[in-house]
Symmetry: C2
């Protein structure tokens, strides 16, 4: 999952509720973690790239090995509520490989970690089917993993069916090709690729809206959605590896890649370049977001902070290469378009034109007319 | 954690209770996972080494990248019961790097995954302190990680303090130096290095014995132990990376390395060579095991299947190199001695001389006088 506001600039991610408490603990934890980083910035073990980016890159002796870890969070509860376990493995792979490719790395393999309340063979096999399908879509192998049966540690939405699903993706990137968004400059085009829905972020809020506030069940057909609440929330996260790798291999100079997860478009502020982003040609958010906002009575600022709002991955390229980038990125079949422009802004703000919002890392979004001049 | 009996021969690990159910689910899951392995046995992404070994090795384009993932299991509950969170991070690192070095890999970096019932800053910082200490002992960096706050997924022994701690270790090994125990032959010496206690395996049984059957609290001093139950169960897992790497770098031909976790000495049967192991010079198990056996009324066969019984890591070398191997392995200060000999045995059995036990992978141990001739 991506980081909530106020995250320290580290590749440490965090997810779920208790945002401030998570961040306070995260800061303390990260202080210790960073003491393990070699002082040397060259040679075996040196940490490359940018602290605070989507994945870490480590020098494995002349070759860069990119690594990142993430889980599906409370999407596991939706799987339990619907009794369908064969798709969240796709989300688990997606959350990791979509982050990994942002540093310019080619995802190569993955290991998964499954903690279960009790081992239920059919459930474990279904989780494996999803993981394998995700691996196929990402073009990676699953080299191994771990299953831990811990009835005293794991619980869930259905008695006995509790589980947690996470993974670690490992990839390869040339040390001189690590992408941290340093080349991004004002005038660059921001290209967005459609998400498949809410992906694996904002599930806690979405569950509250559908199942508590609106009193729906996962099987209930939701007006304006054309599908059940369970179907809408369980739809697998898109995997953007193929099109991203194709773009990276093309003649297009890729200034940055950004996986849009929790924090929404504020993920764009993680790039190294100190610039602003004006998102003035975003597509209208897909129905699931409008329905969640209506049923939950959620403000625009909260919607854009918690959800991806229809865009799951962004790429930043020079304007002269925008058309070619869209052609390549659209090749995998997902909707793709220019959604905005990089602008000069020392405060590194993100503007959501259609919603009249302006946001900053660590602060979320506010209405532009309410923002200090 | 290591694999319980009946584990399929895969690098997939599993831990905890429900052994048979875990194994049934594991088998189904692994069938799917293996469909992601490239058909090619050479080139980027190819899976090297031995399915069923301590870590996986993937071809990263001429260089081997070793990867494995594991967690601390229910040792997290001991941390909660004692209110001490700054040591289990060491166990988390240990469980991973001790596996990784078995394939002959040099551990380079690690990412951790922390799932918490609710984010408690002091607890998270303490977990980070332990992870950092473990990383220092293993000589690795912690490149990144993830914190997921999921009150609907995680529970624990103390309300609000529930957490799960896992990690993934990544290392480097020359593709022509991947060690899977293929060179092991009858007559080889089995050298064992002492464990620090029960490490991170058998906690479920140990908790049942101390806190249910014997009715102790973590603070209770345990007769014959010279320390409290909490201290005995929380003692951090030894990390064997430094001495193992020194041995691998020496002139000693290292035929195999084995991390002794769950399944105890049956971990020795994971090596590629089809041989038997006669452990006839094992040291007497440390007090904690005798106390657990006495208080729990546990049979020898069960003790040797669940616990490491005092030996945390084994190395197999030709007899002519035994003395030098012990000299090098003892250099890190842990007790080290010859514990047995490799013998011809098509059934790949393990004999525990001092206990009169014989065991086989997937079957655990039985009394030798009760075993079929």
């Amino acid at each position: 999952m991506a980081a909530p506001p106020n995250r320290p600039r580290t590749d440490y991610g965090s997810a779920g509720v208790d945002t401030d408490a998570v961040e306070a603990g995260l800061a303390g934890l990260v202080r210790h973690i960073r003491t393990t980083w070699p002082a040397a910035t060259e040679g075996l073990g040196a940490i490359k790239g940018r602290s605070g980016y989507f994945a870490s890159v480590v020098d494995f002796g002349g070759m860069g090995v990119a690594v990142c870890t993430d889980g599906i969070g409370t999407k596991a509860l939706i799987a339990q509520m619907t009794g369908r376990y064969d798709t969240v493995g796709i989300d688990c792979v997606a959350m990791n490989v979509n982050d990994l490719v942002c540093v310019g790395a080619r995802p190569v393999t993955l290991v998964d970690y499954i903690a279960v309340e009790q081992a239920e063979p059919a459930m474990l096999e279904a989780l494996g089917a999803g993981l394998a399908e995700g691996a196929r879509r990402a073009g990676v192998s699953i080299a191994g993993g771990e299953i831990a049966a811990m009835r005293d540690v794991i619980k869930g939405a259905v008695p006995g069916a509790g589980f947690d699903l996470a993974a670690t993706a490992v990839g390869r990137v040339a040390l001189d090709a690590v992408n941290t968004g340093a080349a991004v400059q004002p005038g660059d085009s921001i290209v967005g690729i459609a998400s498949s829905g809410i992906h694996s972020n904002g599930l806690t809020l979405a569950r509250r809206v559908f199942f508590e506030r609106a009193g729906l069940t996962v099987a209930d057909h939701v007006e304006g959605l054309g599908e059940s609440a369970g179907e809408a929330l369980l739809r697998p996260t898109y995997i953007y590896v193929r099109e991203a790798l194709e773009l990276l291999a093309s003649e297009v100079p890729v200034h940055a890649l950004a996986h849009i997860t929790g924090d929404g478009f504020l993920n764009l502020t993680r790039i190294e370049a100190k610039v602003g982003m004006r998102l003035d040609t975003l597509p209208a958010p897909p129905p699931v977001f409008a329905v969640l906002q209506r049923l939950g009575g959620i403000a625009d600022a909260e919607m854009y902070r918690v959800f991806n709002m229809g865009i799951g991955f962004c790429v930043i390229v020079p304007p002269a290469h925008e058309a070619r980038a869209i052609e390549i990125l659209g090749g995998d079949g997902k909707a793709c378009r220019r959604i905005g422009t990089v602008v000069e802004d020392a405060e590194e703000r993100v503007w959501i034109g259609q919603a009249g919002l302006v946001g900053r890392a660590g602060e979320g979004f506010v209405r532009e007319d309410a923002a200090p001049a």
